[in-house]
Symmetry: C2
Subunit: 351 residues, 2 copies
């Protein structure tokens, strides 16, 4: 019998040139510092972040701030039209924009799964930096945590956005009133169907891409209409139907939409039909619903159609005072059906 | 052969009185609305949140804001001394406080794992509400997402905090200078050892509890010292050693601490010794390191000791200009050893 080599007790020393995220990257030690220095700071470079304080200091240009937070868990992390980073930046900027506010800055918190490839992480970070730059907004504070394999699914991102409230332009969910026209900025259901196709590996005839976009330019274009714009909402999770229900409830009004008036791209409509999904409940990431005083609605439509993001803008309905909190759809046959919230979900982890 | 009952195709309708989180709670539909109305809004009640806009509107009392974001993934979710909700509120408020800022508000983003019991979630939410109330800060915006079983571990929370910068009190990691005294507000390593004991089921002689606390009252007590306070840092992940290294690097100074000067509770020291851990690298959640001009250091110590959170405050070292970026420990024998960042981690998912 040959003698066994002696057992040497040793802790595994993390490689510092790994191509994947290690638990040690979440330690607060040397690997954490490397993760920041190599992957995040070069992309998100700005003076507030570079100070590496416990908090970043920013100037406040307004007396009132709009604050919004959103966590993103979309699966798959990368999909036609963008990735989780695109959503995380555009989604939160859109929430700030829906209040009429001008975005000031973003923060980003990451939960990374051990084993996530740096190739994927770097693409996500690059896309966040690109989207933030396009919107002219810096990511001023960040945080990274690492959890073990099987304790996340790739990565999750939280973004929080701050915006300067514009005293002359303050749309809010509760400001809709009977008589308002309801407009939509573009065709619906693209994001949800792009995710579903990517997830299920559906071979659709045409590749459906997510509509993810920053709606800020479109909001800025509507700004001159001032107080005639009563409410803005981007119909993400839960789709247009849920957004309309939320506004109807917040303003205690009835919302009536016309069947067929909500634009749905042909390939998206076909995919929805095959899968038995109602496009009104499918998520969007670059569309907004506009509640506007009727006498300003033609102007609003014209303004939106002049912008690439709103080229297919359409009038989809009106606000009534008959049944507060209800969303109704007038069908082609002249009858009316209620458009309710879905009890559960059509598709989890859509954003 | 008896005829089979006809197969009825049906989607499972989610129960709306479940005692656990369902995927449908993340849908943006009726269950999402219920999750908010039943579990979150009653606890986090405040006008900004109740408006349920895409973003919340808050007044800004200062020309400059401190912004900090932090994600919390601690395992186990509940531990002696607190839960993930306590950490999520105190941790982010402390980051804002370390800049000398007065907290204005918090946001909270939740990633919930399908199957999480509402009993646990409700305790976490209640603890967040309690900690926020104690600090006098409202949670003005929130978001919830649900991921499938095995795609998270119970729940993760991101909190983002805003604070009003105090022009007369602006400690920063880069403002430390040679000659400064280094103080610590209390005994170290309690949080990390409490988590380790809870996680590994260690039967220690005494129950070690986390030190999680909001440091704001202690920071407010130091405020009258004004510009004499150069830097504050709460040594969380990576412990006191990492915090000192970060300050030494940011200010391009040498930090010298004295062996034995950093207070460690007896039971914590004993547990560290058994497990082979260095308390200087173990996480804290209610302790801060203070870099202060030497001529104000006695006042600072006296002020901290007068407050329950700082009763055991101690002088632990001084700032030199010999080796910029280095942290050294003067040993009892008169020699010096370097206190470096750990390459990886002692304990993952500590906060």
């Amino acid at each position: 019998m040959t003698p066994r080599a002696p057992t040497i007790l040793q802790c595994p020393v993390p490689l510092d040139d790994a191509d994947r995220v290690l638990l040690g990257h979440g330690s607060g030690g040397r690997l954490s510092a490397q993760l920041l220095a190599r992957h995040f700071l070069p992309q998100f470079d700005n003076p507030a972040l570079a100070a590496l304080g416990d908090a970043s200091v920013i100037a406040t240009p307004a007396a009132e701030l709009a604050v919004s937070t959103d966590s993103f868990v979309v699966h798959p992390v990368e999909f036609p039209g963008g990735n989780i980073g695109t959503l995380a930046v555009n989604g939160t900027l859109n929430d700030v924009a829906m209040m009429g506010a001008r975005p000031i800055c973003l923060t980003a918190g990451f939960v990374l799964e051990e084993g996530l490839s740096f190739a994927v992480l770097d693409r996500v970070i690059a896309e966040m930096a690109r989207a933030a730059l396009a919107a002219g907004v810096a990511i001023v504070a960040g945080d990274t945590k690492v959890v073990g394999r099987g304790q996340a699914d790739g990565l999750y991102i939280n973004t929080t956005g701050l915006g300067a409230v514009d005293p002359a332009f303050r749309p809010a969910p509760s400001r809709t009133q009977a008589g308002d026209a309801i407009l939509i900025s573009g065709p619906v259901a693209r994001h949800g169907m792009a995710i579903m196709a990517a997830r299920e590996g559906l071979a659709l005839e045409s590749a459906i891409t997510s509509d993810t976009a920053c709606l800020l330019p479109l909001v800025d274009a509507l700004r001159p209409l001032g107080s005639a714009v009563h409410a803005l909402r981007d119909p993400t999770r839960g789709g247009v139907a849920s957004a309309l229900n939320e506004i109807a409830a917040a303003s205690r009004v009835e919302v009536e939409i016309v069947e067929g008036a909500v634009p749905v791209p042909g390939d998206v409509a076909a995919a929805c039909e095959v899968l038995g999904l109602d496009p009104l409940f499918v998520a969007n990431e670059g569309v907004m619903v506009v509640f506007v005083a009727d006498n300003a609605s033609d102007s609003a439509l014209q303004i939106m159609r002049a912008h690439p993001l709103g080229a297919a803008a359409a009038r989809i309905g009106r606000v009534l005072d008959a049944h507060p909190g209800m969303v109704a759809m007038r069908t082609a046959l002249g009858s009316t059906r209620i458009v309710d919230l879905l009890p559960g979900d059509q598709l989890p982890r859509i954003c």
